[in-house]
Each structure stands twice: as structure tokens, then as C-alpha cells.
Amino acid sequence: MPAPHSIELLRFNTCGSVDDGKSTLIGRLLYDSKSLMEDQIEALERSADITGGGQINLANLTDGLRAEREQGITIDVAYRYFATPRRKFIVADTPGHVQYTRNMVTGASTANLSVVLVDARQGVIEQSRRHTYIASLLRIPHVVIAVNKMDLVGWSEARFQEIRDEFESFLPLLDLKDVKFIPMSALNGDNVVEPSVHTPWFAGPTLLGHLETVHIGSDWNMGAFRFPVQWVNRPNNPRDPHLHDFRGFSGQIAGGIVRVGQRVMVLPSGLKSTVKEIWTLDGPLQEAFCPQSVTLVLADDLDISRGDTLVGMEFLPGLSSELHAKVCWMHPRPLQRGRRYLLKHGTQIVQAAVTTVENRINVATYQAEPEPPELAMNDIGEIRLKTARPLAYDGYVTNRLTGAFVLIEQGTNATVAAGMLHPPLESVRPEYSDFAI
């Protein structure tokens, strides 16, 4: 039997404030795309009898933990999976109440698309501005503004246009390239999977129609070659004599394309070599691209270990131990100037000290408030860091993988921040070498 045609995977997250109908929307997508199974529907009906007064509550599909069902809240990011004949989908459902920023950043970090829910009766509220800000901050390539509960405003085109206008008044302040507006009722299913009879004035696709067709082929970085070395591959007792001297560098390509014969530089050392082989279990490749996982063999025997980065000679990254970044703080213990953390960037962990907390960004007004005493949980702000060894990095705007880091608190090992690096002030020069020759 021939392999089925190639199906793409689209990852999206949903965000909205409490009662905007996020979980209902996901339940509706699963239900109407026939992705729910009989035992799941049975379980829904069982819980409807207990907690919902007999009404099936689609939100119970995503609220998986006992505490959530009991309190009627969503604690954490829940991942859901469904497929249509055209695409596979991974949905990150992120809660709208307290801790929303932290959870939304988590769900959004791997998303191709964000669905921002708005209650048509309320229109743009502070939360809407926060959610679009975070989508922009995380550089989610595509955004859908789902104007929900349109049935409760009489399917008014004027109301829809009013909300759209209000968004468009502040969207220019953000860095979003593709924003779609869709009027819908998640509860009744209008314009979610099936087109609504109530919106003859709306020519756009349904939400699922858009999710199935939006172009995501260029969401990965195919620019400059970046390869954080994850693991050095050295067979101990190879049965194949050809492998006696095998020394490969395994990792996931974080940007661009690599080809056999290509010159590469190792950072931070500045040593240079040529790609001799791209090794995979399925046989050698002539070229490989982001985000493939491969093992590279170089022509020269260089001292390379986990945490080093191999880069192409064109469009070299920055290399610095002084970093400037936006961070989202994720821990109850606030960030203060002078604190030391472990910083994970690519495949390396280095010591880092926060030298300056420059500002705290009000994510409702987009104004920067200078020199705050600290950043508390869910705050976003700009900081400067000094690391114990230089990082080879790109601006997050250029590359979502080589421009990102997390901070880890020493002792507790808690992940306390997500960081997005500003572009480097200068790039490594092709003649750079860390070694005096």
C-alpha cells in the first residue's frame, strides 16, 4: 500500500479570559470534526449529570484534573490532538485566570497560530490587549481574533466591525503579520467547523477552514545555518571497522540548511571546518534543514562538545556574554537586580547574573515603566544579563530557537523565566578566532 499523502502539522493555542468560551471552542472543534470518541462523549454525559444540571459541558473535555473539575477552573496548559483529512492539529489550551501570562507563554512558544477569543458583548478588554501582545512578543506567525458569542449580539455585522476597528487601532503597535477576524458562536457551532447561516455578510472561512489552509510552510527559519551540539556521538566498540574513528556531532538544526562540503564555524571557539558527512540512521544526506535532527561529521578533528554551536559562514550570529532581552517572569519569587541564575540557551547551561532590570512592560497599554524594583510573576520586562561564558545567539525576531532562553533558579531548579534576546549589536566576523595563533 502506498504511503498516504503528506500531512502537515499545525500547532495552535487558544487564549481568552475566563468565560470567553475557550474550552467550549476546543470542545466544539473536537466534537464537530468528529474527533471525539463514544466513551469520551459518555464520560461528558456522566459528568453533565453530576455537575452540569444535565447540560453537556464541552469544557469538561479539556479540564482533565480532579481539582479543575471540582473548582470549575483550568489549572495548566492542556494539550489536545485532532485531525482532519487535510491537517493534524495540536492545541494548547491555556487558562485565562491568574497565571495566564506564564501559561500562555508556555502554550504559545511552540505555536504556529494563536486564537484570541473575544466576547462580542464586551469587545476589546484589557485581556485582549494582553493576549495580542504576548502573541506578538512570542512572534507567533498567525493570529485569529475569534469574536465569540455573536448570537448574543444578534449576529450584528456592525458590532463585529466595531470590534475589528478597535483591534486595528492598536495592532500597528505590535509586530503581527497575519491577523484574521472570524465572527462565531462556539456554543452553537457557527463558523467553527460549519459556516453560519447567520453571517451572510462574512465572506471569510470558518475557523477550522482557516486552520486547515493557512500557509505554515515558511514558519521555520530557513535563513542562516545554526546547529547547537547536543551530544557527541562516539561508538565505543563498533563492529564496523569504518566506525573506529567515527566522531559525530548530534543535534537538531535550529536554523537554515546544511550541506555536505559546507564550511562551518564552531562557536565560541571560532575554529573552522567542513561538513564531511550528514549521518542519519536512514542513510547519509546531502543536505539537511531546520528542524531536522541529524549527526554531522566534520573533516577536521576539532574539540567540540555539548553546548557549542556550529554555524554557517554567511550571516554569522552574535557572540557575547552581555545580553539584552525581554523576559516573562514565571515564578512567585520575583526577579531582582543582582540575582544569579542558570541560563539555558540551545544546549548549554551557563551561570548568569541579572545586571539591570530596565523596565516593566504594561501589557495592557504597551507602555514601558522604567526601573521597576522587581519583576513579579507574570510580569514582562526588559533586562540585561551577564553570562559566565559567551553565547552564540541571534535576535528572537530572527530565530525563535537561537534567540530564546530560560532561566533556572539554583537550588530549587525551578524554571523561573522565558527570555527573548534582542538582536546582537554586532556579529561574529568570518576571521574571528578565540585562539591567538
Partner: protein, 312 residues
């Protein structure tokens, strides 16, 4: 359209390989949980993809309830040997003998008893990380679990206090005594697993394919009749789990969709005799995979409770 493009299986594969290599690089003594079931079969292929041409840098670990399908055990041992991996097996029976676990009165299933056995094995070999084949689409509590799932010194999962997991930057750091469970297949669905098995031409134990087997009805499911008790010098491991004299034993054409052990796996009636047949069956299925697992039906929070106690 450029050719620099991954389809969904290639994407899931590269993500899982990345996770496996993070484990090899980030932990001192990892283990890979290998039962011989379809999910852990995919894990083995991903381990080959992640680590070849070198050796797979971790042993395989399996916890037996003592009620396993013999076909599964045979397959597990053979695959481990073929890959040149060290296979460590610990069993509930051994744990009884050593006093690590005690039989639960009135409870025939030993599913819960795998928890202390697994925790004891982790302690015995000082494993700091166990790779498992669990998937988020299996169950509601799993849907909220991280790729790198932190367990405290008692092996417990705290769902309200999980580390945020952002981009592909996994936090593998532990203090002594703490432990990580890592799930490279987190984003895979049942369908993805079978499509991967087809694409990679992976061998699976023959109980996944349709065969004729004596079954009896229990808890709304077709439970396989256990093998006969032949060694009279030992107590019958299936005492209490055999069909009673009045129960209707039927010879059916069945297969397994998901494997626990013989007394908690519901067989499904199916003519599927190839991976293609199974894929067609999964596509048309109207109940979830774990709908045939007696261990999940105990309560709505059955999985959540077991995970908090240290289940994988």
C-alpha cells in the same frame, strides 16, 4: 512550495529524537521503559535514530506484573537482544518475596503494585531518569503532563506545580534523590504511532493482529482466558482471575488495541491482520484506546491518582 518541509510524522520524529538526546546528555543514569508494547517499540526506533552509530546509552527496564502475555515477553527479550541493549526486568512477585510490595487483599490486578516495584528499581540502580512511551492523547491527566515530568524524592507527580516548558528548552536539573520521567511521544496520537510503525516497518508482537483466542466476559469486556496452571508446586498466579464454571468462555477472533497485562486488557473483536488493517480500524474507531483498559475505569481520576503516587 519548497522541499524544505517536514510532514507530521517527520516533525514528531525530530522532536522525539531531540528529547531523547537531551536525556542522554542531561542525566547520568537514564533508563528506557520497554514493555514490548507498540508505543515503546516506537521509542526503540527513535533511540536508534538518536544514538546510532553509537550504542543506545541506557539500559531498558520493564516491570512485570506476573500476568504478562507470553508473546509480549518473548518479543521484549528478543528485541532488546537484537539491539544489543541491557534489559533489566523487575517483577511484582520478586517484590513480594523481598517485602517491597504486598498483595492487596481482594485485589487481583497488580497494576497498582507496579508503582512500588518501579520506585524500588529506580532506587536500586539509582536511575535519575526514566523514558516512557506515554502519550498525552491517551488520557485527561496525561494531557497536562510535560515532556520532562519532575518527580520528587518520593516519586510523586505534583500536577499543580509543574515546571513551565517553553520552546524546546527542557529543564533536566535535579537534586539528589529526585527523578525525571521523560515522554518523547507526548505529542503522538494512537494513529501517529501506527503510521510510524508502518513507515518504519517495525515489527510488533503478534497479539496486535487478529487471532483466535478463548475469552470470557468481565466488566463489559472480553478478557483472555489465562494460560493453564501447570506447575502445581507454585500457587496459581491467576487464582481468582480465571473464568468461573458458569461463565461463558467463547472462542473469538480478537486482537489487543492496548496492552496492560492478561487480566486487565480487554480484547477487541477484529479481523485486522496487518498494520494497514489496524490503521483503517483506528481511523474508524468510535471508542478511545484506553476504553479497553480496566485499570483506567476505576474512577474518573484513576490515572491522576496513580501518577501522583509514582506511576509512569
Amino acid at each position: 512550495m519548497s522541499s524544505y518541509h517536514l510532514d507530521h510524522l517527520q516533525y514528531l520524529e525530530t522532536e522525539a529524537i531531540h528529547v531523547m538526546r537531551e536525556v542522554a546528555a542531561g542525566f547520568e543514569r537514564p533508563a528506557l521503559l520497554f514493555s514490548g508494547g507498540k508505543d515503546s517499540i516506537c521509542l526503540l526506533r527513535l533511540a536508534e535514530k538518536a544514538f546510532r552509530p553509537a550504542e543506545i546509552p541506557m539500559p531498558f527496564l520493564n516491570v512485570e506484573t506476573g500476568h504478562e502475555f507470553p508473546e509480549l515477553i518473548e518479543f521484549r527479550d528478543r528485541r532488546a537482544a537484537e539491539l544489543g541493549a541491557k534489559l533489566i526486568v523487575r517483577s511484582v512477585d520478586e517484590a513480594f518475596a523481598k517485602g517491597i510490595a504486598a498483595p492487596t487483599p481482594g485485589q487481583i490486578s497488580r497494576n497498582q503494585l507496579q508503582i512500588p516495584v518501579l520506585l524500588a528499581a529506580i532506587e536500586e540502580f539509582r536511575f535519575d531518569c526514566c523514558i516512557g512511551g506515554a502519550r498525552r492523547d491517551e488520557e485527561k491527566a496525561r494531557a497536562k503532563e510535560r515532556f520532562f515530568s519532575f518527580r520528587d524524592a518520593f516519586g510523586q507527580w505534583d500536577p499543580k506545580n509543574q515546571r513551565p516548558e517553553i520552546w524546546n528548552l527542557y529543564n533536566a536539573r535535579l537534586n539528589p534523590g529526585e527523578n525525571m520521567r521523560v515522554f518523547p511521544l507526548s505529542n503522538w496520537t494512537e494513529m501517529d504511532v501506527w503510521e510510524y510503525i508502518r513507515k518504519e516497518r517495525l515489527e510488533v508482537p503478534n497479539i496486535y493482529f487478529s487471532h483466535t483466542r478463548d475469552c470470557f466476559r468481565k466488566g463489559g469486556q472480553w478478557i483472555p482466558v489465562p494460560p493453564p496452571h501447570t506447575d502445581s508446586s507454585k500457587p496459581d498466579p491467576y487464582a481468582g482471575a480465571r473464568p468461573g464454571p458458569n461463565e461463558n468462555v467463547r472462542s473469538l477472533v480478537v486482537r489487543v488495541r492496548t496492552i496492560a497485562d492478561m487480566i486487565s486488557t480487554g480484547m477487541i473483536e477484529s479481523p485486522a491482520s496487518s498494520v494497514d488493517d489496524i490503521i483503517a480500524e483506528v481511523a474508524a474507531a468510535r471508542v478511545t484506546e484506553r476504553g479497553s483498559r480496566a485499570d483506567d475505569k476505576a474512577s474518573e481520576a484513576a490515572m491522576e491518582d496513580r501518577k501522583k503516587a509514582g506511576y509512569f
